[in-house]
Amino acid sequence: MKQLILFFFAVVTFTSCKKDENPIVPVQPPANEEEVITTLVLTFTDIQSFEDHVFRFTDLDGDGGNAPVIEVDDLPGNRDFAVFISFLNESVSPVQNITTQIENELEQHQFFFQTVGVNLTISYGDEDANMHPVGLINNSTSLSPSTGTLKVTLRHDPDKSATGVSSGDITNAGGDTDIEVTFPVVIL
């Protein structure tokens, strides 16, 4: 019986060590996530006037939380553009340019562009070491005035040799999606 009482005492002592300084508090707040893409920017540069038209998707607090903000410049009709894509992590300071990470892994990434209702064509203007397109730099032509949407998708590990993929058809691409953003587009 003595042992029992001793043990009870031990347990009580054991569980009653109160948190004087809370040892479970993490040493410092976790650094903001290195891999979050908060911002996607498509810059349509008019190849005659060098005027920039910017499509921007921003979600500063990452997945969940506040809703993202989408800002889109209208595009003039019947023009040719060079389209540059960049993405940023604006939740860290200084702002991180994530485009360079993709530039190091060109073979594992490809963009796809799908338009609905708008008279806009986009074709690849770059390629990786295997002569497959990537989509960081593109050529685009706007036609008659119209409104619709442009969906930009970035696939990680797509099968770039599959039928149609190198010409921009997403159907057989496979892979997993890193980015999928739909912009409302107006061609004036």
Binding site: K19, N22, P26, Q28, A31, G64, N104, D157, T177, D178
Partner: protein, 779 residues
């Protein structure tokens, strides 16, 4: 009452033909006979099952409790006695001349000096339906995971996340609603979430008990659906070394594993014993019938060591074990958003299929489990004992995701969980008949996120303290009825430390006080019919992930949002279990009926969609409801002749969401397994030969909540399996071979209970071949 103590495992009967003794060889003319008697009142235990394990012989006692074996060879045997309604008892028997023994089976008296108790089943869980998987049953699944081994038990299914992660599910509940006791210690690594399999080395135990009822009174929180108990193997007590080597080759995954065990005692120090054990397993990618399931390799290694001492008054054990696992997660299950998921479902094949490899790439998990346990058991008087246990366990888990910029080698999740548990129980007798256990238990746990992942932790740091008291008493009512009643009170506090998105430190604190009450009855209506009733409550405080999740869950393509207002789940479960023997034991039936009401049942409910840079994701909120689960487990076994037997096992479970008035998500569909068994006790030098063909039918789940799932439940499937095993003597040693084949026709199927069914089919045909070599039988 001792009758209850002997009550038995049906599993036992499945592989040993209940035939009269037959066959004699020149040197084998010994007889072993006796009676089986109730220790308390001296009445004979009719129809008790007496087994000499190594001889592969069994006999059933007659009405007066008499049994007899003839034609035995001299040697050391494990004698096992089971009686309907009791737990089996095992003892060591040294047979050098014909022997007659009256088996009272309690260890007090010196008259049984020929016998040593090597395992004594405590009489607990009265009224609870339970199933025992002994060494022989487990051996048939050598090389499989714990969950796969348990899935042969009616009412137990597997909740899996692809081919590498499986969690046992009992009566429709799994994860934190099932308690796993490893070597008598609460296994704490389930605290992290559904896609984490229990970190247990199936080689380190050779007996698992599945209790299919609410059992918080006995075991504390989480024991809502049931309890899985992997039991410590008893140590040798006398001098001499023995051991075993096991090896297994597995076709699907092109790998295998092995285990080595050595144990012994010390000369001149009777009662002292030791054991060491080590195991390993490697599997490459699994294969579905039509394609590789890329990145589904597994690597496991484990080791354990035990030393112990026991005499009549004093028993002590020190146990130490380590287990490590690395596993790949199906590459094709790593998807970016809901569009990818829809694509995966529409195409019906995984989007990534590579060549076979043993390599494990991201996404992958590594986990380590370390357990150290010390136990002291001291007899204060002849009938009152005190048992004190302390255990320390650490779990570490690293999850590696597919990350950009060469960061895949950096864990995306890096958790360390440290748990101390301490228990003290006082086993006592009050007067002549009432006996029970009073106890105290405490737990102290810390979960720490290792810094350096570069990702905001999914589960915050926390500290959990819990303490409980309980009392369980057994009261025999006359000859045939044993009643158990008990209660427990437990208090849990949870302290969280996390930073929110803006970098503000939050330190919320939670306190939960819960109680459980239970009553159980074992009633032997006749010697051939036994009924168990149990009516018990159980509880589970909400888990930290249910309180604080906030983020994207990649495998599930969903944003999960916790709710810190959730309260403890409380379960009230009633079970009725009926065991019966018919036609002199030729037909055995077992039926378990159960109904389980759970208030504050926590689950994920869809709550609209949220736009992210990866596209739209569905949002799921942790909410609570009241759930009602009910069902039936049935086992029938017919001994057609002494060699042929047919066995059938069926499980049915239903789950309702009472507040929403709809079916619960992810409840197993109806399933039935029928096995044709053929066994030969002895032929030539071979012994214990057994062949079985089994047919496994799993129906389609049609009872689903509307508009929750991404794809409709998979079609029904039917799988065929085959197994064979046999043993032969090599001098004093024994070799046992076995073959197990599953999905013989290489059928393509998907299982509703597999969370990766959206991405790929289940594994195709698998064949495993195992061998066990036992040397130096204990003397």
């Amino acid at each position: 009452m001792f009758r209850a103590r002997l009550f038995g495992s049906i599993v036992l009967l499945l592989y040993l033909p209940n035939t009269a003794v037959q066959g004699q060889t020149v040197n084998c003319k010994l007889e072993f006979s006796g009676t089986v008697t109730d220790e308390h009142d001296g009445t004979p235990l009719s129809y008790a099952n007496v087994v000499l394990v190594e001889a592969e012989r069994s006999a059933i006692a007659d009405v007066d409790g008499h049994f007899k074996f003839i034609g035995l060879c001299p040697g050391t045997f494990t004698l096992r006695v089971a009686h309907l309604g009791c737990e089996p008892v095992e003892r060591q028997l040294v047979l050098v001349k014909s022997t007659r023994l009256d088996l009272f089976l309690e260890h007090h008296s010196e008259e049984l000096h020929d016998l040593e108790v090597i395992r004594e089943r405590p009489d607990e869980n009265v009224g609870q339906p339970n199933t025992v998987l002994d060494k022989h049953s487990m051996e048939k699944s050598t090389g499989r995971s714990m969950a796969e081994m348990l899935a042969v038990v009616p009412g137990v299914t597997i909740l899996s996340t692809g081919p590498t992660i499986g969690k046992p599910m009992i009566h429709g509940l799994s994860g934190n609603r099932i308690l796993t006791l490893n070597q008598g210690i609460r296994q704490e690594d389930q605290q992290w979430g559904t896609e984490h399999a229990p970190n247990l080395d199936p080689f380190s135990s050779d007996r698992i008990t599945v209790v299919k009822g609410a059992a918080s009174v006995q075991y504390g929180s989480d024991a809502m659906g049931g309890v899985i108990i992997t039991e410590p193997v008893d140590l040798p007590r006398t001098a001499g070394i023995n051991g075993e080597l096991r090896g297994v080759g597995i076709l699907n995954g092109r790998g295998g594993g092995g285990n080595a065990m050595l144990q012994g005692g010390l000369k001149g120090l009777r009662g002292f014993g030791w054991r060491v054990q080590g195991s390993g397993k490697i599997l490459g990618d699994s294969e579905a019938p039509d394609y590789m399931l890329s990145n589904t390799g597994i690597r496991e290694q484990g080791a354990s060591a035990t030393i112990g001492y026991r005499d009549l008054r004093f028993r002590s054990t020190l146990y130490f074990s380590w287990f490590q696992r690395e596993l790949g997660i199906l590459r094709a299950s790593h998807i970016g958003n809901l569009t990818d998921l829809d694509n995966a479902i529409a195409t019906g094949t995984p989007w990534y299929v590579g060549d076979f490899t043993y390599d494990i790439d991201a996404p992958r998990q590594t986990s380590d489990h370390l357990l150290a346990k010390a136990e002291l058991d001291y007899a204060l008087t002849e009938r009152n004992r005190i048992v004190v246990t302390y255990a320390y366990q650490t779990d570490s888990r690293k999850e590696y995701d597919i990350r950009r910029g060469g960061r895949s080698a950096l864990p995306a999740l890096d958790l360390g969980l440290t748990t101390h548990t301490a228990d003290a129980s006082f086993k006592h007798w009050i007067g002549k008949h009432i006996h029970g256990r009073a106890g105290l238990s405490g737990l102290f746990q810390r979960n720490i996120n290792e810094p350096g992942t570069g990702i905001r932790p999914l589960i915050p740091n926390y500290q959990k303290e819990s303490g409980g008291v309980y009392l369980i008493e057994h009261l025999p009512l006359g000859e045939r009825v044993e009643v158990e009643a008990g209660g427990r009170l437990e208090n849990t506090t949870l302290l969280i430390a996390k930073y929110d998105a803006t970098g503000t430190l939050l330190q919320p604190e939670f306190e939960y006080t819960n109680h459980a009450l239970g009553v159980g009855v074992n009633w032997s209506i006749r010697d051939s019919v036994r009924v168990r009733f149990n009516f018990s409550t159980a509880y589970r405080p909400p888990h930290v992930s249910e309180l604080f999740s906030e983020g994207l869950h990649h495998g599930a393509a969903a944003i999960e949002v916790g709710n810190d207002q959730l309260d403890s789940e409380r379960s009230l479960k009633g079970t009725t279990d009926i065991d019966a023997l018919w036609f002199q034991g030729r037909l055995q039936t077992n039926f378990t009926f159960y109904a389980d009401h759970i208030s504050n049942y926590i689950y994920l409910r869809p709550a609209g969609e949220q736009l992210t840079i990866r596209g739209a994701f569905p949002v799921f909120d942790y909410v609570s409801t009241d759930a009602f689960l009910y069902g039936l487990d049935a086992t029938l076994q017919v001994a057609v002749t002494s060699r042929w037997a047919v066995r059938s096992r069926t499980s049915i479970v239903r789950g309702r969401d009472l507040r929403m008035d709809q079916w619960l998500f992810q409840i197993p569909s109806d399933r039935t397994e029928t096995t044709l068994l053929y066994s030969i006790v002895k032929t030539g030098k071979w012994r214990g030969m057994e062949l079985g063909i089994s047919s496994n039918y799993v129906a389609q789940q049609r009872r689903i909540p509307p508009e929750l799932d991404y794809a409709s439940p998979p079609r029904p499937y039917h799988l065929l399996g085959f197994q064979a095993s046999a043993a032969r003597k090599l001098g004093n040693n024994e070799v046992r071979f076995g073959l197990q084949a599953t999905n013989l026709f290489n059928t393509t199927y998907r299982d509703y209970m597999d969370r990766f069914r959206y991405y790929a089919a289940a594994r195709g045909i698998d064949v495993s071949l195992w061998v066990r070599f036992s040397f130096g039988r204990p003397r």
